[in-house]
Each structure stands twice: as C-alpha cells, then as structure tokens.
C-alpha cells in the first residue's frame, strides 16, 4: 500500500486517498467544434503505460485537495508530487507527446 506525501497533510497511507487516473487530460472544446472521435478519445482513451505515469489523486479522507503524482507503475515508486496547475514533468514516460 502506497505511502503518499500529500502536499497539505504530509505522508499518509494510500487508503485515505482516491486515484482518478491519468493526469493532464485536456478537455476539448468548445463542444460545437469537437468531433465525436475527439470527444470519445477524451472520455475513454487512456495511455495505461508501463513506466512513469502522471496521475490525479485526491486526499479524500483528509484535506480533500486534488494533486498530481508521478508514479512508476512498475515499481510503485513515487517520484514527485505536484499541484494540478503545474505543467507535465519531463520524467513522465511518453510525457512529451
């Protein structure tokens, strides 16, 4: 079980948190200009990569703040915890796409 360094509360156990999947999804818009394919990709297609992945996490049973983490999906090592407003990190596998 992960030990996550919440930016507000410090190191807490994973069961206080909720993971909401891939971070840095860009919401396409305005709706009139978005094709069905592009919208479907935004809703459903995820990279599910093996390597360093950027993820959205919520400290649900704590401060209720959202933040992003960089996690190696193979080793479960957490490389970095950063605000949701920050840009993608270069360490992310495939992050340059």
């Amino acid at each position: 079980m992960l030990l996550i360094d919440c930016p507000v509360c410090g190191q807490r156990s994973e069961d206080e948190f909720r993971c909401a999947g891939q971070a840095h999804l860009v919401r396409p818009g305005p709706p009139d200009a978005v094709t069905d394919e592009a919208w479907s990709a935004y809703l459903y297609q995820r990279t599910n990569l093996k390597g360093v992945s950027a993820e959205r996490w919520l400290h649900e049973f704590g401060c209720r703040r959202w933040f992003n983490i960089l996690r190696d999906t193979l080793t479960h090592q957490i490389l970095h915890v950063y605000p949701v407003t920050e840009a993608r990190r270069p360490e992310e596998t495939g992050g340059g796409e």
Binding site: M1, L2, L3, S13, E14, A20, R27, P28, G29, P30, P31, D32, V34, D36, W39, S40, L43, R56, L58, E60, R64, R65, W66, T75, H76, V84, T85
Partner: protein
Amino acid sequence: MTGWRHSSLGIIDRSRPISFRWEGRSYRGFRGDTLASALLANGVSIVGRSFKHHRPRGLLAAGLEEPSAIVQTGAGAKSLPNLRATEVDLVEGLEAHAVNAWPSVSTDVFASLGLMKRFIPAAFYYKTFMWPGWELFEPWIRRLAGLGQAPDQPDPDTYEHAHEHVDTLIIGAGVAGLQAALASIRSGAATLLIEHDAVAGGRALGAEQSLSGTPVGSWIAEALAEIDAAPHGRRLMRSTAIGLYDHGLAAIYERSDPAGPPGAQGSLRGRLWKIRARRIIVAAGAIERPLVFSGNDCPGVMLASAAETYLHRYGVVSGRRIVLAANNDRAYRAAFALNDAGAEIVAVLDARPEADIGLLEIARERFPVHPETLPLRVEGRDRVRAVRPARLDGSGAMASLSEEIACDTVLVSGGWTPSVHLHSHLGGRLRWDDMISSFVPVQPSDVLSVGEAAGEFADLGRIRPIVCVETPGGREEETAFVDLQNDVTLLDVRLAVRENFRSVEHLKRYTTLGMATDQGKTSNINGLAILAAELGRTPAEVGVTRFRPPYHPTPIGAFAGHRIGDTLRPRRRLAADAAHARMGARMEDYGHWSRPAFYPQARETEREAVHREVCAVRTAAGLFDASSLGKIEVIGPDAGLFLDRIYPGSMAAMKPGRCKYAVMLSEHGTILDDGVVARLDADRFLVGATSGNAEKVAAHLEDWLQCEWPELRVMTIDVTTDWAVMTISGPKARLILAQLGASIDVSREAFPHLSVREGSLLGVPCRIQRVSFTGEVSFEISIPWAYAEDLHSRLMASGASLGLIPVGIEAIMTLRIEKGFIHLGSETDGVTLPDDLGLSGLVSRRKADFVGKRSLSRPEALRQDRRQLVGLEALDGSAPPIGAHVVSDRPDSLRGGAHSEGWVTSSILSPTLSRGIALGLVEAGRSRHGEIVILRDGNRVLKARITPPGAYDPSGERMHD
C-alpha cells in the same frame, strides 16, 4: 505405534502434564508440546486423511509447512477448522480431530477411493461429469473431497487491528533474525522482531550447537534479553507476516496464547497488525523438501529436519528403526541425533556418489550408507513397514533394485527451499541457484533477505538435484506424491505435461499442485523440477508460480477486526432520532442513514400505515424528516458562473430568493444526481443533493473547481449536517406553518412555488424552500441541526388538530411514484441521459458549454430507440413487480426471438387512485403511449398499458397552489 518420548531431551515442561482428546480418545502430553509432538510421543501414526483419495497420512513436518496433519479443534461456535497439528499448542482439555475422515481417521469409509486412485487422475471429475451438467455432481464430489467444517454459528471470539511504525522490521527470530535484530538495536533504530512460533530460536532451538563459543540455548536467551531490555526494541511472538506491500507495509497476524492467563486477553483470538517500516529484513528461514517415491505419503515418512525438531524441542523420537534417504549433507544431522537418542539407523540411502558425501567416513562408523541409492517405494499401508531402495545410474535412472530394508520410519531430505514468499510479494525477482537446487531472492530489492531465506546454507554439502528415481515402467508414479495436501502424484504431473500444460502456472491450475492451505510449501520446487525434466528444460527456464499473500492461512475474522455487526460502519442518526422513536417509527437503514420508514399505529401492517400516511398528505398534511438531504453551499463572486458550467440548466440568471429543480451530469452526459438549487444571495447558492450522494456531489464540485477552473473565485462547503430539514406537505401545510410564528410571510402571493426564504424560527435562523416531491404544497424548513427535535415537536403540536401526522420514506416514495417523479437509482442507472427521463427542459440550448454537454449529441445519445421513462398500468389493476421486463416478440437479429425492451423501475399500489401504478424505462417509450405490452417477471406474465408517467394531478395544480 512407533514414536516415543525420550527421557530427558527437549525443552518441554515435564512438571506440567496436560491431558487432551484426539479423535475421542484421551492422551497426555506436556506444556510446550504441540498437538503433533504429543500425538507422535503417544505413538499415534495416522493424523489425517488425504484430500482426494482419503489415504492415511502421518506427520511430514514439524512446522507451518505441514501439508497432511490438518485438524479441527473445539466444537460448536468456537470450533476451528483446518489447523496444522504442528501449530496447535497443547492446552488442558484440548479436543481435536482429523478433517476429511468419517467416521474416524483410522477407519475412514471413503478410503476405498484410494483403491480407485489410478482411475482418478488430474481433472478426472471435470472430464467425467460433464453430462448432463457439472453442477449436478459437484455437491456430491465436494462432500468427498475437502477439509474441515466451518462452524455454523457466528464466531464468538473477537479480533482487533493495530498499527505501528518502526525503523526496522525483522521477520523471523531464528539465529539470522536475532543477529539482525541485535545489529539493528545496537545501531539505535526502533526495531520490531516478529516470530511465527511461540518461542524464538527457530531451527536452532534445543540443538546441541554453539554460536560464537556460547551454547546456542544461552546465546538465544542472551539475545532476547538484550532486545527486551532495549527501550527501542520490541518483539511479537506467535505473529506471522502474511503479506508485504508497497512502501514498507507489512501485514502481521498475531495469535493470542491459548494457554495465556484466563481473562487477561478476554476472548481476543488474534490481532492484525499493519506495520510501516523504513526497512524490512526477511529472516524467514527455509523449508526442507521431501523426496518423491511410491508410498512417500505413508505415515512414518517424515522430513529429516522435522525429526530433529521433534527430538530437540519436544524430546520425541520419531521411530525405532529408521532409514534416512537424502541428497545432501545436512540430513545426516538427524541420523546422528536420533541415533544418539537411542533409535536404530538401519540404513542411509544417499542419491550422491561416494565422493560427494561429506560425512561419509563418520557416518559409516555408525550405520550402513548406500551411495547412489534412493527409495523406489515404501511398503506398508497405515505405517511404514519396509523400504525398497533402487540403485541409480549416472543419469538418475534406476540401475538395479536392492534388497528390501525393514524399518518403521523413513526420514527424507530432498534439499532446502529458501522462504522467498515475502520477497516475492513485493515483486522481488528470483534466481535459480544450482548449488542448492532452488530459487533464491535477487538482491538488492525492496526487502533484505538474510540467512537461509537468502539461500545461505553452510552445511548442505554438494547436493544431487534428484527428487525421484526414474523407473522404466513407471508403475510407481501412481502413488508417488508430489503434493501431499492436494493428492497430486507424479502421474498427474506427467499427464498434465502430456496434455500440453507446459507452463508452471497452467500445471498448478490443472493439477492443483501448490494450491490450498499450504500453498505448496513442501511441493512447489519438486513439482517444477519434475515438470522441467519432462519438458527437457532447466528449472530456471520453467520458473515458479507467483507467490501472493497471505503467506499463511489467516482467520477471516482477523481481516474484519472490530468491523462486524453494528460496528461494520458508522450508522448516521437523524437529529430528531429520539422524536421518531417516541412516535413509534420503524427505523431502517437507507444508505448510511437510519431513517423512519413508516410509523405504524397499534396493530397496523406496513401497508396499512403507509396507506394512512399517504392519505394524510393528500388530504391534510404530513411531516417528513428530510435532514439527510445533501446540502452544499457554493459561495463567491463566480458562484453563478461556476454552477452554469456544472449544471445543464441556467443558474447565473436565477434571481436571489428563487430555486429550481436540476440534474447534475457527468462528463458522459449521464445523470449523477438530482436536487434543488437555491440562490440565497448574489454570491451564495445552496446545492441540494440526494441523501446517498451528498459526499459524491461535494467531491464532484471540488474536482471541477480545483482541477479544471482553479481561477474561479468560488468555495464550496458541505453543510449537510449543519441543517436539519423538516418537510411539511399537504393542503394544510401553509396553515400549519403560519401558526408557527416564523419571521417569513408564507402567503401564496409572498412565497410562491420554487422560492426560498431566510428568516428566524424558534429564535434561531431558518431557511424555508417551497419545493415538492409529493405533488402537494410543501415547505422544506431548514433549522440548525441541534433544533431538529424541538422543531419536530412544535410542528406536531400545532399541526395535530389540522390532521398533521408524521410520515416515513415509504409514504414519500408512494407519493412521488403517483406523481411520476424520478428517484435517483430507481429510474436512473449508469447510462441514463436527461432526455430519457423527459427532462430535456432542464438542459439549456443557449449555453455554449457545461459538464457533459458534448456527450448529449453523441450518436449513442441520439438513438431513436433509447429507453425512455413511461408509466405502466397493469390491465388487471395490480402493481407490476419491480424489475419485470417489457418483453417483445419482435424479431431481433442479435438475440433472436423474445427480448427485453425495458423494465419496471418503480411500482406501488396507489392509495390515492386505488390501483397499481408503475414507472418504467421502455425503448422509445414516449412514442408508444397507449400501447399494450407484455410484462414478464420469472414465470409471471401480465399485460400493461404504456402511459405518460405521473398518474396523479398531471397538470401539477395542487403543488403550485
């Protein structure tokens, strides 16, 4: 009847005799014995019946790896199934019996299955009982094969959870673990040492060795004293690491001492520890492997190290005339020790050539040693009678058959397997080590394995990696057991390979090798060595099945801990809970909330009570506690803008003092929740959520606010339990409210439907909303949580003369179904869009964007045959069963024949209209009003007419009044 108690050896307390019962007969042992050692000392040979063939089984091991001696202790609710006899502490009055044997372990009527064993190979049952259906045979077969019986009453004992943080966690208090603990403590680290056994020392316990010049017993005592004396040192005995998880988390199950002082621990049976450690050291030791030969499951065949443990620790000698069969040097220790204790070593069979046997000269002075020899088979049924050795050639095949050797015990050693399970739990890789013929951990990894768990053996010598004699005929393979717990034979493994199960994972699933309670602790390596030989590959290429937690069987109750019954989760009580109780409410759990379902009077049935409550709301007034409704305040200059982006309807344009019904959508366009949004002020909104969804809605708002639009000047506060809500509904509602003296004008003109007012009531602030879930004039009165009971009493006191009565959820649900109002989770599921429910009026066409907007114009959302909300009126006037399907006979190319076009979502017998009323979701339902359809529920079939939803007051005049 061959095991016997030595007069002096062992570390049992001979001054404290203990009497116990095994299979209904009385025996005696000593404090410090296990059930296994006591049975062995009493000469009991058969301690179990095998899983599939009901063959008699004895003790193979002395520790947690024991595959055969599976017992059940106690009776009734306190009975414990599937314990290893080697782990059951002997306590006064212990009652134990073998599992999987009837009427008794020594005369098992199902033993005849054993005679048919050649006809019951791997997967026999599945292959044979296919027609007409496996499910017909399964219960009968399951009765024959199996383990202990689960108690049929609730567990009267308790379990608890505990948490700890340490610098260093050391798993295993053998010599390696003790050395690691001493080093850790001397470095100043907070250290926790855990040990599965009741005593520390591991395999060195009771052995006549010395460590750094000190006898091992004294060395262990001194180490423990130093650990116990250190303020930052601690140890837990009877505690097993069952799993290791990411970032240094260890799950540890601690068993209470059954012989502990009575009452000291209450009825606490065990404790599940969750320990976070900066560093984890695995000193879990190693497990000896048996050899594979015909009859190797016969009682009297035992691991060499187990015989040593029984001797050194319990003073029990395993037999009188003993043959040792081995492929390594260490096994000779057992022969020397047992010989010293007075047993005769009839012969030593060693797989290796003379040159490789390290202790050959010394051994030959005391007993005959036969190099390049292994047992081909054991003679005997309920006890070993003799062993038939075979000479091996250079390839390991049988060169010649030797003379039978009479004996009562065969000690076996096929080498040692490091306990790599915990290392593997964290994804640690393994490497095949030819020197010890086993897998060892690849280090460094997330944990540090030390001692034998790391594959460090000082005294194994040169191993010959042979586990069975290759015979030309192969007849022996039918009774040569690879996995004793699951009755998997050499034949089964070879059959699986012939049927092309070539992966070690497939082999496991097909033959069950390595499954069940012991998870192949003694059988895995032998199984994969045989598989590798069959495939002509090396064991390293074949690999090993993945080890997963738990390492050791753990009572389910330990995982539940205190979270059972009423403490499963918090039960949320309404602020006016006591008032409801006084009025005789039948309380039920709705989600986490305990709420009044209805208020039965005298001998009323539920239906009668609900009927009375519904009629009161339609004719006078009802008082409903709606306090559990979710309430989230959205505050800030951009609050209107934010809610415009969240909701499909327009919120920014709503005037203060007004409120509206709204649905909240996910980005997929589906309905997340519904409720009333009120604008209290220019920069303050109150978002209403359904009772079960308050947290979800609050989280949804925060997700969008924090992650998508952090620039908006908005904050949200979940005030669900700051405000209690009493809803008063019915034609007399206004009159009753007016008598209460609120500082708010409740007249028709001043307070129209869908508006909100703030003021004071009973001397405290209040908010009143005019919204209706019943179809009658309704006022939702919010008041600070602590005043709920007071408000409830005042309303009842002033309204009783006008016919006001309390009403519960069942009545409210009946009222809303009469009106055709949706209930989230009944009329919606994960795919319901607003238009499906006829709610497209809540979706703004003018707004450029809102959450879920784009999804409402996807092809799936525009399909003409989407299921739509309708009323369903059974032609016979009954209430159709909820869940009944609307069945069509129209041809369907995909499914063929009849198929479902939708279903009944809500249904009641309407007290107001005196007939059944139902709502449903039906394909293209809105264009089919008037059509007669077939409803089907199981075998029940009825006809119904599709109608618009909302049978009562369709124009809505009453609630607008």
